[in-house]
């Protein structure tokens, strides 16, 4: 394949865009701006034509696997179908071209949508307040932990300890550290559940927050959830729910009902916002009433007017931690989530979770015979198999199987996460895949486990490149074409 960079196509004098003539009296920039501040020449962008740019990037695009082209069972990422009506909605100028600093009365449609999203997210989480500001799940974690810190400070308690299960997403301890807390790891069991002994050993009156992912990252509903929450609450701590796995429980159980005081959502996972090759996402958070005053602002409030139509206004929570970013939030992602939720309604959202869980259990049932699943016979929306037996017997690793799957036209599951499962192979099919696809995937997986190990070590064989040298990349980073 052609491996030229866009810079390699550059030729002086080429140009992909022609700007309008200036229709006002014009002066030399050097007469308007201090010469010392002016550049001698504009930056060395490539000089290429529109046809070159388009062909270059269209060809690049085809080197990607994506949900629209392939089954993409990347565990913990909920790679469900991204509905096209959501994209059409996001492109409407009445949403895409609204400015954050417009007067309130000129954006009532936008504010109504955002208000409804707050209400919907509160209802789904069973919590009392919502801020739509955070830009991604990890950003939501940070924002919520900052809320917790502000709360404790406000009530005069010095609490620094944040408990994090060892199978949590790495963002949890990282967010805790950024928020000024001390992250303390709690062990988990084979089924991903919290090791109660270790939990008790680490739980004390200095606890600020217990960050839990439930269903956990092994795809199991935490069996001690109620107990954990009660004990943390009894010690004056708060429960933070990592909402990455909400796709399993929509309308079935609610974090607020099982003890969470705070949670974030990943609308790009649960509510079908596209993943964009790595973003944008969004990370709205919901919290209990006592934490509401500390939320990042503004939030949208509804004001009854005399007339039929309500008036929507932006309000800063009373004791807000402030802003965690500029402007309101990742509105474009929230709009897609809103379109998705409105497409499904109450019954539809429940069916999403039911089918996500059904698909995962079906795949588990098909796979467990040749790829052991330590967590047992059942799962929620995803499960974690292990390749350690194959590794011991034939030297085949989780990475080998992942790479070989690419040859067969399947994106690989998540591998080596969670760290608590050896040779972890974490599969999340999502509800938008068909039984036929799951059958084909399971058959292929089986076939791969029967293949010559050497074939697997060298896989993939059919892709444009195979196994980048990551050590060299990290040791001598080449991060730009200078």
């Amino acid at each position: 394949r052609d491996t030229k960079l866009i810079f390699d196509l550059s030729r002086p004098g080429c140009r992909g865009a022609v700007l309008p003539d200036c229709d006002v009296p014009s002066a030399e920039p050097s007469s308007l701006l201090p010469a010392s501040m002016l550049a001698d020449a504009p930056p060395a962008m490539p000089e290429v034509t529109e046809p070159q740019v388009v062909r270059h990037f269209v060809n690049l695009s085809q080197l990607n696997m994506s949900v629209d082209t392939h089954f993409y069972p990347l565990g913990s990422c909920t790679m469900k179908y991204n509905p096209k009506r959501n994209e059409r909605a996001a492109a409407m100028p009445g949403f895409a071209e609204v400015h954050p600093y417009q007067p309130e009365e000129t954006k009532q449609g936008m504010l109504e949508m955002l208000y409804e999203m707050q209400e919907i997210l509160k209802e789904i989480s069973g919590l009392e307040a919502c801020s739509l500001q955070p830009a991604a799940g990890a950003h939501g974690e940070l924002a919520a932990l900052l809320v917790a810190a502000a709360y404790f400070k406000d009530i005069g308690e010095e609490r620094k300890k944040v408990l994090v299960p060892d199978n949590a997403h790495g963002t949890n301890p990282a967010s805790a550290a950024m928020a000024g807390f001390e992250a303390v790891t709690v062990k988990t069991n084979i089924d991903g559940g919290v090791d109660m002994e270790d939990f008790h050993a680490k739980l004390d009156d200095t606890i600020a927050v217990f960050m839990i992912t439930n269903p956990n990252t092994v795809g199991i509903f935490e069996s001690n959830m109620q107990k954990l929450a009660d004990e943390v609450h009894a010690r004056g701590g708060l429960i933070y729910l990592d909402g990455a796995n909400m796709n399993a429980i929509l309308g079935i159980t609610r974090p607020g009902d099982f003890g969470a005081d705070m949670q974030h959502y990943n609308p790009h996972k649960t509510f079908s916002g596209p993943h964009g090759g790595g973003g944008p996402g969004a990370g709205p958070i919901c919290v209990t009433g006592k934490l509401a005053p500390y939320l990042p602002g503004p939030v949208v409030e509804k004001e009854s007017t005399g007339s039929d139509e309500a008036y929507f206004k932006l309000v800063n929570p009373e004791k807000s931690i402030g802003k965690v970013r500029a402007f309101f939030g990742n509105t474009g992602v929230l709009l897609r989530a809103y379109a998705y939720i409105r497409t499904h309604g109450p019954q539809g959202l429940r069916e999403v979770s039911e089918n996500a869980v059904l698909n995962a259990n079906y795949l588990l049932a098909k796979v467990k015979h040749f790829l052991p699943v330590p967590q047992g016979e059942r799962c929620m929306h995803e499960f974690v198999a292990t390749v350690s037996k194959l590794k011991a017997e034939k030297g085949i690793t989780a990475m080998d199987i992942a790479k070989r799957l690419l040859d067969y036209g399947f994106h690989a599951p998540t591998v080596y996460f969670p760290l608590t499962v050896k040779e972890a192979f974490m599969i999340e099919p999502t509800e938008t895949e068909s039984k036929d696809t799951l059958d084909a995937f399971a058959e292929t997986l089986f076939r791969i486990t029967e293949e010559d190990p050497d074939l697997l070590h060298d896989a993939p064989h059919t892709t444009s490149i195979s196994r980048p040298n990551e050590v060299a990349a990290a040791r001598n980073p080449c991060l730009a074409c200078m």
Partner: protein, 461 residues
């Protein structure tokens, strides 16, 4: 449901393979007392046509850059987005893929990100760029954390008051529990007084944060200020407007160690301020402190050049609480759009866009200044935004009235700067025409030129 495939027959077959009686049985690990035993109280389902009509109704109640004439900026800009940017940004293979964990089937994303990083280093004059952050505000906060971390100075951070107020708020929020003092140097004249700033920079100062052109649109004496920072052993963080670099010296050239920006101007829609694009670049020395994803060039098993995520030991999924940041999902799709945008406009186009912003904003500034009602507030040279004072002191009402006429006239500044309560920030991009500017001047003076506005809007002028 249009996105669900399993028919009742499929479900029965699958349950049988699982060995379960019912779907409900699959949820038996959730105790009954924790179940929601009622339907969610959310609105009913809508088919696609109903949904579209509903969303059009909502969208129809917003003014926006196509049905109004907008002079709003303040970090979110109505720059022109070439159609080819949309073509690429809406490719399924880009927007429905995720973080390139499997490099073999993500070379498209990886190479595009590598090109993005390359463009940003060329744009900023710095050595390295990550592959994006959330937005300009959080990027500024991340830069400050980098500085605190790398200088090992957690005493203070010095920010100019002329930095975007929401960026400053974000920095303050991020630092709330880290024991770092945030010192804000006032800018009553619209730009930093170097002597005042120098007085605040001490040997415990991790960094100085300056926006240039600043929030008021004014140019700062960035080079001198960078020298002040460096003299004190602090890092210089420069917040920049990517479009301005068509004309202005690059942050790396005037002395910034870390340059951050809101990248929305580079081909991303305004979208009520999000999602947008956080840009962050820095010097080589800071490379191991970079937050977020980074793509590197390497070779594959067969010796072919290729791209991969790299330096992951900085990151949270490996380093957990010791990572440089918690950033995981970033804004790859908008980094891609910026890459396409910059490739299309090239150096000449970027200069033209910058120059049109400069010339046109100067025209409008002069026109407003020459009226009896308005005056320019600051003397410093400006790039594409400027602050005007309403001598009648009714800026909020003026903006509201202009909106009724179809003009988004400016951003009242009183909420952030009480001393500028009678002022607004006005922005002019290359999309605004002389006719629109003349009409705005008229509307702001008379408060009644609705007919003219309607005509212009309809005419798309």
């Amino acid at each position: 449901m249009p996105y669900l495939y399993n028919t009742p027959e499929d479900q029965a077959e699958m349950l049988s393979a699982i060995g379960a009686e019912s779907i409900d049985e699959l949820f038996k690990s959730i105790p009954d007392e924790l179940r929601l035993n009622r339907p969610l109280d959310i609105p009913r389902a809508l088919g696609e046509l109903d949904l579209e009509q509903h969303l059009r109704e909502l969208a129809g109640r917003n003014l926006h850059a196509s049905n109004a004439v907008s002079f709003l900026g303040g970090g979110s800009y109505d720059h022109f987005v070439p159609a080819a940017v949309d073509t690429i940004g809406s490719r399924s293979e880009f927007y429905t893929s995720y973080t390139p964990y499997q490099a073999e089937v993500a070379q498209g994303n990886l190479q595009a990100m590598f090109e993005y990083q390359s463009l940003i280093t060329r744009l900023t004059g710095l050595d390295v760029s990550n592959s994006s952050l959330y937005d300009g505000g959080s990027a500024t906060a991340e830069a400050v954390l980098m500085a605190v971390d790398s200088t090992r100075r957690s005493g203070r951070v010095v920010m100019a008051e002329s930095v975007h107020p929401e960026y400053r708020q974000t920095v303050t929020t991020y630092l709330a529990n880290l024991g770092v003092e945030v010192v804000t140097v006032g800018t009553p004249e619209g730009t930093v007084d170097v002597a005042e700033l120098t007085a605040e920079v001490n040997d415990q100062t991790a960094c100085v944060v300056l926006e240039h052109p600043n929030f008021f649109g004014a140019l700062e004496d960035a080079e001198t200020i960078a020298q002040v920072a460096h003299d004190a052993g602090a890092l210089m963080i420069g917040v920049f407007d990517p479009i301005s670099l068509g004309l202005l010296k690059r942050p790396g050239d005037w002395g910034a160690d870390i340059a951050v920006a809101e990248g929305q101007s580079l081909g991303t829609p305004i979208s009520y301020g999000g999602p947008v694009l956080g840009i962050l670049a820095c010097t080589d020395k800071l490379i191991r402190r970079l937050p977020g994803r980074v793509v590197g060039e390497t070779t594959d098993r067969r010796g072919n050049p290729c791209y991969t995520l790299t330096m992951q030991t900085r990151e949270q999924h490996i380093r957990r609480e010791k990572s440089t940041s918690n950033v995981c999902t970033n804004q790859a799709l908008f980094a891609l759009r910026a890459t396409v945008y910059l490739s299309l406009v090239g150096p000449g186009g970027l200069r033209d866009v910058a120059n049109l912003c400069l010339q046109k904003s100067r025209y409008l500034a002069d026109q407003l200044d020459s009226t009896s009602r308005f005056e320019l507030v600051f003397n410093a040279p400006t790039f594409k935004e400027f602050v005007v004072r309403d001598k009648e002191g009714a800026v909020e009402a003026l903006v509201a009235d202009a909106a009724k006429e179809g003009y988004l006239a400016g951003i009242p500044l009183g909420g952030w700067y009480p001393n500028l309560a009678d002022c607004m920030l006005v922005c002019v991009t290359e999309k605004r025409t002389k006719a629109q500017m003349d009409a705005l001047v008229e509307v702001l003076q008379t408060g009644a030129a609705k007919a003219a506005a309607d005509e212009l809007i309809q005419a798309g002028i």
